[in-house]
Symmetry: C2
Subunit: 167 residues, 2 copies
Amino acid sequence: MTTSKKTSSPEQTPLEEAYPTTVEGLVLEERLGYALRRAQLKVFKHFDEAMREHDIRPAQFSSLVVIEGYPGVTQSNLAQTLSIDPPRVVSLINSLEERGLALRVRCKRDRRSHGIFLTKTGEALVDRLKGLAEQSDLEATQSLSEIERRQLLTLLRKVYASEESDD
Amino acid sequence: MTTSKKTSSPEQTPLEEAYPTTVEGLVLEERLGYALRRAQLKVFKHFDEAMREHDIRPAQFSSLVVIEGYPGVTQSNLAQTLSIDPPRVVSLINSLEERGLALRVRCKRDRRSHGIFLTKTGEALVDRLKGLAEQSDLEATQSLSEIERRQLLTLLRKVYASEESDD
DNA sequence: TATTGTTATACTCTATAACTATA
DNA sequence: TATAGTTATAGAGTATAACAATA
């Protein structure tokens, strides 16, 4: 039902010149998914710039923060917490361990598990990064007032935290 | 300053059991970028399900909507409008053209440009998809009231539409 | 048998550079 | 020379299946 039905070729000559550049007035403007994506791209772009000096990716930052908050967290816990798949955690922790920011400690009680801890270097770095990340968020959302920024955060949490069935 | 400084190994045995699963209380909860990412993933997941029957990706949907709103839009205009790179537009339009949903028409005035139009099939499909997308957004944000949903949309637009310098 | 972590793999998305054909 | 579109390519990010060690 979707292929090779090629109908209606437009007789108009295209390009009346001076086209879009914005999506104003289109249905896209009403699409939550589209707005989320665009806003996320903008905020992540600022984040990338802020972290470039330290060569830290978003997922690495998130991992560092979680490990800091829950020292000894296992890889499966981390996967669950961040809603990512176990194989991703492996390379994530590998990268942090190679850089001396975190380390795996085999759990004595259940020798299948690894507790993950920050090194002193990791602790120092994550402290610095948290400040940079906050500053980056502020810069990326300069068009919002402080009240609006908090509103946005609250609404977003409400969206992603609700578990109807999935996620 | 970032590598091979491995300090401080934790003496504690890891895993006090009963760990996270949520990021509550962590700095992550305060990170706009993180909240945006999580919310976007959730909304996109619903979108994927809604579009699976029609095998339409988010970028394809956005393209169809823009072409519908601006018949004869050029590929470079589309790239600008959606904030994507020209090479992506090529494969995007290829996929739509192969399926008989859109077609390129060489512009007479400037034969380097292609105006893009929807076919009748494309027009019919995009009409159907817009309904599905709206329904999908509603389902993904069931935890929000209608007022909150509009607030969220307004705030997101305010974030991504503001052009300080980049984007 | 089930679970933790791992390897391998593949597919999508995205970004860049270099090419062509027109202007 | 500059622009529209294209090709090729490579790097992230993401998802899946299969495996080893441990329980």
